[in-house]
């Protein structure tokens, strides 16, 4: 394999990864904008259509430019208040109940032991 081919393949792999991550972020963002499933599914299909339309593009420079344009569009339409899983940084429960030090435990027996 020549050096040119190897560098081409490396660049293609990097492009594919960028496309995958862009699609993933855009799909999540679609879910942020469309809260209900019946709104989300058509939007997700439309997004997929946009990606599928350029499936067979071969020109490597053109692909780079299209990815850059796609990322710019994603950044422009990004949701200002996206959904974050509660425990993640920025989520509603982030650091709310940190794990107690080992050896401390609550035994929930609802006062039964006094009445037995």
């Amino acid at each position: 394999m020549s050096v040119a081919t190897a560098s081409y393949l490396v660049r293609r792999a990097a492009q594919k990864e960028r496309v995958r991550i862009l699609y993933r972020r855009a799909l999540k963002d679609t879910l942020n904008w469309a809260v209900h499933r019946h709104l989300f599914y058509p939007d997700a299909d439309a997004l997929r259509e946009k990606f599928e339309a350029n499936r067979n593009v071969e020109d490597i420079e053109l692909i780079d430019r299209m990815i850059a344009a796609g990322e710019a569009t994603y950044n422009k339409w990004r949701h200002p208040d996206p959904y974050i899983v509660p425990w993640a940084p920025g989520g509603t429960k982030f650091c709310r109940n940190p794990t107690p030090p080992p050896g401390i435990e609550i035994i929930y027996n609802y006062g039964r032991e006094d009445n037995d």
């Binding site: 995958r20 993933r24 974050i84 425990w87 993640a88 429960k93 107690p100 435990e105 035994i107 032991e113």
Partner: protein, 164 residues
């Protein structure tokens, strides 16, 4: 009649100054092992009626809504209920099987999404997102990009502390 002097300093309860463990002393009577069902003093009368009391340990009680209460649980509100491996496998396979482009009969715990199931890379992204929703996770983009097969997904989710 002289009135008794009342000391305001007298504590109502004895203070225990030296706790042996970080535990409420009132709760120390709970046995370590769950109680076996036992019959307490059957009272029989002349008709032969018997009143039996069956003690069911609290840790095995299953409520109507399916939630299980355990007698001992840690204070943390999350992260202490780890999934077991079989449950992770079952749920991952359920998610993959319900994906529209997948033939459910081909799905086994060790399939590769693209090589064995004939999906493309964007379908893989969608499956990983479905898995994130199923297990209430948020996987960083770079790590989610690496997940491309069932064994990897099962391994990642099983080892994730927040999977539920």
């Amino acid at each position: 009649m002289p009135r008794k002097a009342f000391s305001y300093i007298q504590p109502l309860t004895k203070l225990r100054l030296k706790p042996t463990k970080f535990r409420n002393p009132l709760w120390s009577k709970i046995p370590k092992t769950p109680l076996e069902p036992q019959f307490s003093s059957p009272q029989s009368d002349s008709e032969g009626k018997r009143v039996l009391h069956v003690r069911v340990p609290l840790s095995r009680t299953l409520f109507l809504n399916g939630s299980r209460t355990t007698a001992v649980r840690s204070m943390s509100s999350h992260g202490d209920d780890h999934l077991d491996k079989q449950e992770v496998i079952d749920r991952v396979l359920d998610v993959v099987k319900t994906f529209p482009k997948v033939d459910p009969s081909k799905v086994t715990p060790d399939v590769h999404f693209q090589k064995d199931l004939g999906l493309d890379s964007l379908d893989t992204v969608e499956i990983v997102m479905a898995l994130e929703e199923e297990f209430k996770l948020e996987i960083p983009d770079k790590e989610a990009d690496k997940i491309d097969s069932c064994p990897l997904a099962i391994e990642y989710i099983y080892n994730h502390p927040m999977a539920s």
